[in-house]
């Protein structure tokens, strides 16, 4: 198997899908000639030409809505947000158009569009540029929300997202672009909506997604050193949520810590906690703990931002609390 960075895995997925299906186009700011602000689209202009790889003006609302219109007319656009922080400019198009047209037309339209791009905090770019927006989009009934943590999932899930006939928000995390791991060659199609156990354990379940999966894995190592066996579940897809996988692990460990980089209020972790207590109340031996980004706008200064981010130390402390 090839060892690829997350960025290369995403690039492969885009390239393979564009190769396979002429209806797939890619557009966004700096995706073509500049080769992508984070180089995810590197080489695609050269391979597929300016008809299919388009540099847009800085008009997120315009090109997102244009993408939805093109999808209504049968194309399968991949719309890149340089970062998801900038998707707020296009929120109306994503929520009211991509998110509602199938339903409010009585099922006449498919909207096979993928919105994708970088996201996340921790790199000291301040409040406007550090959003981890999966909750905002997961709150919209008809949107699929995918947040990969590893290169193989990034590739397999992006390919599945492009083939999905539903609007998908594919939320990458900037901190992971350089992360390397094995990726199967060729046509891997990872099922949307399935979590993955990234580490088996017996005493506490750490439930995470995206970059937080790596925080949870680091905490699992700390816990192991202290003689505690932690299981790490990478949700991979926030919506739909893989509730059976979550409940299965809880039945085994009876303890849960949820790790999420986003802000806590009505975060997906709150939904996961609700599902567990509602369906598996008797499996729980301790209150569910959550480690989230702190409920403040993202600060710039390193000392402040580090305090805001979920960390392995915070997760380990929370895990020990469930075992106390």
């Amino acid at each position: 198997m090839a060892v690829l960075t997350m960025r290369e895995a995403l690039n492969q997925a885009l390239s393979e899908e564009m190769e396979r299906d002429e209806r797939v186009i890619l557009m966004g700011e700096e995706v073509a000639e500049y080769q992508g602000a984070y180089k995810v689209s590197s080489g695609l202009l050269q391979k597929f030409g300016a008809k299919r790889v388009l540099d847009t003006p800085i008009s997120e609302s315009g090109f997102s809505g244009l993408g939805v219109g093109a999808a209504m007319q049968g194309l399968r656009p991949v719309v890149e947000f340089m970062t998801w922080s900038f998707s707020m400019v296009a929120y109306d198009q994503i929520v009211n158009n991509a998110g509602a047209i199938r339903y409010m037309s009585g099922g006449q339209y498919s909207i096979p569009i993928v919105f994708r791009g970088s996201s996340g905090a921790g790199l000291q770019v301040g409040a406007t540029h550090s959003h981890t927006p999966e909750n905002w989009y997961a709150n919209v009934p008809a949107l699929t929300v995918i947040t990969p943590a590893f290169p193989d999932d990034a590739k397999g899930l992006l390919k599945s997202a492009i083939r999905s006939n539903n609007p998908v928000c594919f939320i990458e995390n900037e901190k992971l672009y350089g992360f390397k791991d094995e990726v199967p060659e060729g046509d891997i199609l990872t099922t949307i909506g399935k979590a993955r156990v990234r580490r088996e354990g017996s005493q506490v379940t750490l439930i995470a997604n995206s970059a937080s999966t790596h925080v949870a894995l680091a905490s699992a190592l700390q816990l192991e050193a202290d003689g505690i066996s932690a299981e790490v579940i990478d949700l991979r897809t926030i919506k739909p949520l893989d509730i059976p996988a979550i409940l299965g692990s809880v039945a085994k460990t009876n303890r849960v810590v949820i790790v999420e980089e986003n802000k806590p209020f009505a975060g997906w972790g709150a939904q996961v906690a609700f599902e567990i207590q509602n369906r598996s109340f008797d499996d729980l031996d301790a209150p569910i703990e959550r480690v989230t980004g702190l409920d403040v706008p993202q600060p710039y200064a390193r000392v402040l931002e580090q305090a805001v981010m979920p960390s392995a130390d915070r997760v380990t402390e929370a895990a020990k609390k469930t075992l106390a």
Partner: protein, 356 residues
Amino acid sequence: MASSGAKKVKSKEKPGKSPAVLPTLTPSERVDLLRKMVLIRRFEQKAAQAFMQAKIKGFCHLYIGQEALAVGSISTLNRTDAVITAYRDHGHALARGMTSRECMAELFGKITGCSRGKGGSMHFFNKEKHFHGGHGIVGGQTPLAAGIAFAQKYNGTGEVTVCYLGDGAVNQGAFHESLNLAALWKLPVIYVIENNEYAMGTHQSRSSAGYPLVKRADGYDMAGITANGNDVDDVREKMWDAVQLARTESLPSLVEVKTYRYRGHSMSDPGNYRTKEEIAERKKESEPISLFKERLFKEKALTEKQYEEIEKEAVAEAEDSIAFAESSPEPEVATVFEDIFAPEDQIAEFRPPIGS
């Protein structure tokens, strides 16, 4: 390129407000403009060094090459007029009279920074100096400017607002909505397009239809004015018309200023979309500091020796700002929970638990 509206400037003066004609500066006032431009240049160079040493993090967009624009335009304002801009904000902040120390300390993420270390390079603020940010989202500042101008008009203060944006930002819907509101409600706001030809790696010819960009004023029936951003005098002159229009008649304008940035889009941009020759060419023909310096020499407002002194002072000030930033304390971790809500409301007590 000044379209109809700009000529509507009338010479009526409100008592206690600025005079109707662009005041002629004394030689020493002209030298002060140069001093400010040189300071911005040296400040930015020090910031670039500090970024390379990882003392400044995140995104850092330099103003090198565009100094005459901020200095010239802000020099036409009164102290209480409002200034607002995008993320490339160091130059405007310094031109507005914010100190090198508070700016550099912000870049270093220190508690002594103009935003207490919370904003960083893209989010400078100083309300006392009527500098209303530093805005990271392209175009996001443009409706705010209309709102500030709305309040100025509402309060009848005779103040005006200047809002800067890039040639790339003109394609955001928010900007068009702002222009319409400003024209419809006759708001005392001046939108200044800093046309440095590139939005990141995208040349203006690949991002905008309809040239020159100032034409966008026509659709909203507002004054459209063009200036040469390499020439501080030209910027002052043209801005003056717009400022007067806003101040005396409460009318908005759109000013397109031609400029050029010498560095990458941000410190993280290798800049492969243009050639070194292109940059060298531009520097040779229209470097704003040399242009103005030579003019001052000719006017006998400045000697070679005095200029060296200005350079020395600017470097010393930039170095002092680095020393200040370096020796300033980090913010206390507890400050992370400060500045979220108005303290009078004591909202913190009702906040949900924040995870563990």
